[in-house]
């Protein structure tokens, strides 16, 4: 996924003189070819995150299209105020490419996880927030970011994610149906979509066909389009590798309220605590009940009507284990 995103940017660099890439001492090997071809358009600004973001803002004001690449906590958290004041407040068209969304880096430890970044980024007006599910969405996110005249934050994984879409011309601004289905819709963003599709394969064996929808653009989110996609289902399950309280789960509660939806809603994701558990990414997903098994089990429970009214529940995955 990361490579699909970066390759799209690098291809654009061959046609656009104004693109400049800043790295915060991250991405070993990622920019090797670029540095060879365009040594004058790349800078490693080292382990100095505040300076990197402010420098990017200044460089952008001089008429460059700037991409800043770093691991998400060092792109968005360490230097949050620089992102807020220097990039977003001034509405500069900078691309912030964040690596290590969700639990990509497990088991590196909590400092390297990005399980609240959507909540943080959503508090920044002017900022488009993209959470692509596969390399095709990542490429589309890159194309969107390149033409945007406002700041764009893209959260990426880098574990060799497979293509989930077949349509290479998708519109990254819309909720996207990954698999058609009926009765129940499973909403997700980012790489957990792969688990949702695996769950769907399991469920298909017993005649259950949930509709799987990826929502790559979480800010601004096309809520009306999503509501339209949910018109013919009664049950909605959301899944994310992110805190439910400030991620898609929170967005859905807003949606329920704003549109007066009366769907049964269950929200899977990470509970609000710091993660001390030691697992790799797959192990973490199983542990928190957001892997294919956890998602399939939740679908079964929802269809068995062992359910809680919309908005009143807090999905706690342990209780949903089969």
């Amino acid at each position: 996924m990361r490579n699909a995103f970066i390759d799209t940017i690098l291809t654009a660099c061959r046609e656009r003189e104004d693109i400049f890439i800043l790295s915060g001492d991250a991405g070993l090997g990622v920019f090797d070819d670029f540095k060879k071809d365009f040594p004058e358009r790349f800078l490693n600004l080292g382990v100095a995150e505040q300076n990197t973001i402010s420098f990017a803002a200044g460089l952008s004001m001089s008429g460059h299209k700037v991409l800043v690449y770093n691991i998400i906590p060092f792109l968005l958290y360490r230097c949050y105020e620089q992102v807020r004041n220097d990039i977003c407040y001034q509405q500069l068209p900078i691309i912030m490419a964040g690596i290590g969304c969700g639990l990509t880096y497990a088991p590196q430890g909590m400092t390297h996880y990005s399980v609240e970044d959507i909540g943080i980024a959503r508090g920044l007006p002017n900022l488009t927030v993209l959470s692509p599910a596969d390399p095709i969405e990542a490429k589309s996110a890159a194309l969107f970011a390149l033409q945007s005249d406002a700041p764009v934050y893209v959260r990426l994984a880098k574990r060799g994610e497979p293509n989930l879409h077949t349509d290479h011309t998708l519109d990254i601004g819309q909720p996207l149906v990954l698999a058609e289905g009926e009765r129940i819709a499973v909403l997700c963003h980012s790489v957990i979509a792969e688990e949702a599709l695996k769950a769907r394969t399991k469920l298909a064996n017993v005649g259950i066909y949930p509709r799987i929808i990826s929502i790559p653009m979480l800010q601004p989110m096309n809520k009306a389009a999503l509501v339209e996609m949910l018109k013919d289902v009664r049950i909605v399950l959301s899944v994310e590798e992110h805190y439910v309280s400030c991620g898609l789960g929170a967005l859905l509660l807003e949606l329920v309220h704003e549109f007066g939806l009366n769907h049964t809603l269950l929200r899977l994701g990470l509970p609000d605590h710091f993660i001390h558990d030691i697992y790799n990414t797959a192990g973490m997903r199983a542990h928190f009940g957001i892997d294919a098994n956890g998602i399939a089990a939740a679908v079964h429970r929802l269809l068995d009507q062992k359910i809680i009214p919309a908005g009143a529940e807090h999905a706690y995955p342990a209780s949903l284990q089969p």
Partner: protein, 261 residues
């Protein structure tokens, strides 16, 4: 052309009037750097043609009244804009909201941002082969920000020799003296050790400021440590901690304008 000292006096008068009308703080911080801004805008900086102008960034953005006043006297900002400063439904906030067309080049208010944006901007101008210089004014209190030293490490590395930082060293921050609050000195040695062309001048001596600003920086970014007096020009405000935050009353205004007459 008017002597710079006369212009600076007019700029200070406008600062007092703005502070009085608005009841906003930071009048001492604004008076402190008035001579530096006067020298920059009325002597050093190229502002014509506007599209190719040199850029000044007020990184210590709490001294916004000094910038607004200077821009107004230079004819870049209008009288009504100045009159709407810090008013309900007004025109200008107490810290900076970017508006390049009227001289507010970057937003600011949180310390340790403008300095680093200035380095990026200067680097960008060089990359575009534009012969434009960037000046950033930082405070001595602001020099406690980690981001300042991140920028200090990198500006010489990226060859930003068109970037000049000026430190308004009045030795009074919000709640004390920088030289007592932290291990401030030797400040000049610090910047020299970081690879900057470093000068130290009297920040109220126009000729010294002019020379320092014009001096060739030998391929390095430049740091001018300008020794200043907070509240400069108004006797009862000079070097007084309280005038970081105090409000200008009718009596204060009357006396201050008399002294600046």
């Amino acid at each position: 052309m008017k002597p710079l000292s006369d212009t600076a006096k007019e700029i200070r008068k406008t600062i007092i009037e703005m502070a009085h009308r608005s009841k906003s703080p930071h009048v001492g911080s604004s008076l402190s750097c008035a001579d530096i801004l006067t020298t920059l805008y009325f002597d050093t900086m190229r502002l014509d043609p506007w599209e190719q102008r040199d850029v000044f960034i007020l990184s210590k953005a709490h001294a916004a009244m000094a910038l607004y006043s200077t821009l107004a006297h230079k004819g870049i900002m209008s009288r009504p804009q100045i009159e709407g400063y810090y008013q309900n439904g007004g025109t200008l906030p107490a810290h900076l909201d970017r508006a390049p067309q009227c001289g507010v080049e970057v937003s600011g208010g949180s310390l340790g941002h403008g300095f680093n944006m200035g380095i990026g901007l200067a680097f960008g101008f060089k990359r575009k082969n534009q012969n434009r210089k960037v000046y950033a004014l930082i405070g001595d209190g602001e020099s406690q920000e980690g981001s300042i030293w991140e920028g200090a490490l990198f500006a010489p590395k990226v060859g930003a020799d068109n970037f000049t930082a000026i430190m308004d060293h009045n030795n009074l921050q919000g709640y004390g003296r920088p030289t007592q609050i932290c291990c401030f000195d030797p400040m000049r040695d610090k910047w020299e050790a970081f690879g900057w062309h470093t000068l130290e001048v009297n920040g109220h001596d126009f000729e010294a400021l002019r020379c320092a600003l014009k001096e060739d920086s030998q391929g390095k970014p430049k740091m001018i440590i300008a020794r200043t007096t907070k509240g400069k020009g108004v006797s009862f405000m000079q070097d007084q901690l309280i005038w970081h935050y105090y409000i200008v009353t009718d009596d204060h205004k009357h006396q201050a304008l008399e002294e600046l007459a």
